[in-house]
Amino acid sequence: MLSHGRIALGVLVLLTAACAPAAEPAPTPPPKPTEAAAKPAEAKPTLPPPGQAEAPKPAATVPAKSAPVTASLRLMGWASSPEEDRLLNEVLADFSRQYPSIQVKFEPVPEYATKLQTDLAAGSAADVFYVDSLLAPDLMKRGLLMELDSYVQRDKVDTSDFYPGLLKAFQWKGKTYGLPKDWSSLAMIWNAELAREAGLDRPPATWDEVKAAAQKLTKGKQVFGAVTPPELPRLGAFVYQAGGQLVSQDGTKMAINSAEGLQALDFYYGLYKDSYATTPADTGTQWPGDTLAKGKAAMVFEGNWIFPFLKKDAPNLSFGIAELPSGPKGKGTFAFTVSYSINARTQNGEAAWLLVNYLTGLEGMQRWTSLGLAMPSRKSLEAGWIAQFKEREPFLRAGAYAQPWQLGPGGQEINDKVATPALQAVFSGRMSPQEALAEIERKGNEVLARPSP
């Protein structure tokens, strides 16, 4: 019944389950994509008239439409909802009417981050794909994205129309590697009924008012005033409100271990420590929006993705929205943004640029943001969008001061393996706020300083 084979098989199964996807362990490095990306003007797009193929140079002024570009493009992203999926396909159809010789196939995939990573590793990534702001520095640093500046200058794209915090997320060493397709910000959403019961006639606008309101809204262990998950993408907004930074200006060092960072963490964790705030985990809910929907908390600091969720899970909830409170140094929030970026290895650079420029242009973006879920990343569309979605105004107003959710190369790792464990340690009393910030700084700096091969 029992054999060596069974055990050996077990060991082998285990090993392969644990293995990273294997590739040839050949000592010779493959051609570095960085070289190609550093000079995109030489990575010739396949333009039919060869005379115009040199177009992507700053000096060239050939209008895009005069060159009939023929290409079949792959666009990879994710679909947050069937409505968005359908809308994007409509926008792409509009694009194809303007550029009949360019075919675009949208490939929405689940587990997007993993899929993109493996596609890039295999060299089979799409021509154009979504890049999340947190991952962007890793891809820009490695030269996996095509530099867009020469196209931007040639086609006179007014990049100052993008909110500065959004465009900055896709710039690396002065070059641009993606244009923001849309964005979300954090604002304060509260249960209007509970607020009325607690006698709150206007949203809290300062930290002190937030604390006082949370205290009033808390009903023992049944309803908590606020939700403060031990996560940097929420705490960080308060660090900005205190006048602090997460990472230094040059992006080489963590900057959160500062007097401002400590002030923010003391306030944020203080709400939890005093039991005026809870976490999704403690209330058996999935995320703060769920905590609000289930009536276990009265106030959350969340993004505009909360709308479709509340509509579905708490259709009868009456709620109010305001910008995040002002801290000791004023306003601050995160911009969660995603770019359309071009694969540095694409054979269809020109066509890919035309697509990106259309999707992030006034016409394409207006269409794309017309459902109200995604917010336009262009200032010139702000007024029109707000007129249409009046109650969502606080989210878009944050464009003036929002900072991109970004930590530099290794950002995902700094968040998942450095910041979250340290903040969890604070919330469980294992570490003091000072110790946690020092640990985030020390370990975060190790990741930022890690050399690439």
């Binding site: 392969t16 293995c19 990273a20 590739a23 985990a281 403690d282 464990p421 969890q424 690439s452 091969p453």
Partner: protein, 322 residues
């Protein structure tokens, strides 16, 4: 042309069933070599490179990955967690499985029902079971309710988001602050361990049950003729004869415990101090570090540990055992 003696040799060879033997194991052997042996060798090779997952750029760095690993607090945390996990899960599931097997081996009413019920967790999807346990251990969930019933206060932060070590929690009221290596498994890891015991006990029970039914009845009859008590019969007959089965159960239990991944994926995503070696392999490559070579080194360490322990058990219990 094969001569007369040659034909005899072939016939003799065939008679020994060797050729047939190789023919029968060939498909398995090929599959093992292609899908297991080759990737293992490649992983071993990768572990000597600084290997970027995204660009596939690589540079030979010799033992650098192993040196980095030895200096990484997270690696040691993962190793400690893996050891806690094995020490917590394997004895508990082996003992529970043996007890259940003994019970299910009695001529009691509804025996078939109990056997099926105990086995059920093993055939359920691990993802579904993990989700179920996520609900049990969520804030205000069943585990909290049970604690409240016993007059104890539920943990805050709730189970799966609580990174405090259990020794740390015991020492805290005494005013002691333990060094990081001595804090013990986190509350969240304990919850995942409970899940693992619950799911795997059924499989182990079935193996024990098969072992129990292999014990010859004559031995018990002889023992009772000699005046042995039930306890004596269990200690002197059942346990010794179950030794090979027990060893098998312990080994596959350990391998399973070393491998733990999907439960962690669902329940904590490696947070709350639940990083294990297998999780670290994933996190280092796909979790934002993109360090494929380093992850390969972790995988090789995991391989070496399991290999060594399996060999050690083999030596300790002798070849005959399995």
């Amino acid at each position: 042309m094969v001569g007369r003696s040659g034909k005899q040799a072939i016939r003799r060879w065939l008679a020994e069933d060797r050729l047939m033997g190789y023919a029968f194991i060939a498909p398995t052997l090929v599959v093992l070599a292609v899908f297991h042996g080759w990737p293992i060798l490649q992983t071993f090779g990768m572990s000597f490179f600084n290997w970027d997952l995204l660009t596939q750029e690589r540079r030979f760095t010799g033992l650098e990955n192993y040196r980095l690993l030895a200096g990484s607090g997270e690696f040691w945390l993962a190793l400690r967690n893996t050891v806690y996990y094995v020490l917590g899960v394997v004895p508990a599931q082996t003992a529970a499985a043996l007890l259940l097997a003994l019970a299910a081996n009695q001529a009691i009413r509804g025996r078939a029902f109990f056997r099926a019920a105990f086995f059920f967790p093993s055939i359920s999807s691990s993802i579904v079971v993990a989700l179920l346990f996520t609900w049990i251990f969520q804030g205000g969930g069943l585990a909290d309710w049970l604690l409240t019933l016993l007059g104890l206060s539920p943990p805050r932060p709730a189970w799966l988001s609580n990174p405090s070590g259990i020794f740390e929690l015991i020492a805290a009221p005494l005013g002691l602050r333990l060094p990081e290596w001595a804090v013990g498994p986190s509350v969240a890891l304990m919850a995942i361990m409970a899940l693992n015991v619950w799911t795997t006990t059924g499989t182990m029970m079935v193996i024990f049950l098969a072992g129990l039914q292999d014990v010859p009845r004559e031995l018990y009859e002889a023992a009772s003729v000699d005046g042995a008590s039930a306890r004596q019969a269990f200690r002197r007959i059942t346990l010794p004869l179950l030794k090979p089965v027990s060893l098998f159960v312990v080994i596959i239990g350990m391998i399973g415990a070393f491998q733990v991944f999907d439960q962690i994926w669902i329940m904590t995503r490696g947070q709350s101090q639940t990083t294990t070696l297998a999780w670290l392999v994933y996190a280092e490559s796909f979790g934002g570090g993109f360090r494929a070579g380093y992850a390969a080194a972790v995988a090789m360490v995991l391989f070496a540990i399991i290999f060594a322990i399996t060999m050690l058990q083999r030596r300790l219990f002798g070849q005959r055992a399995w």
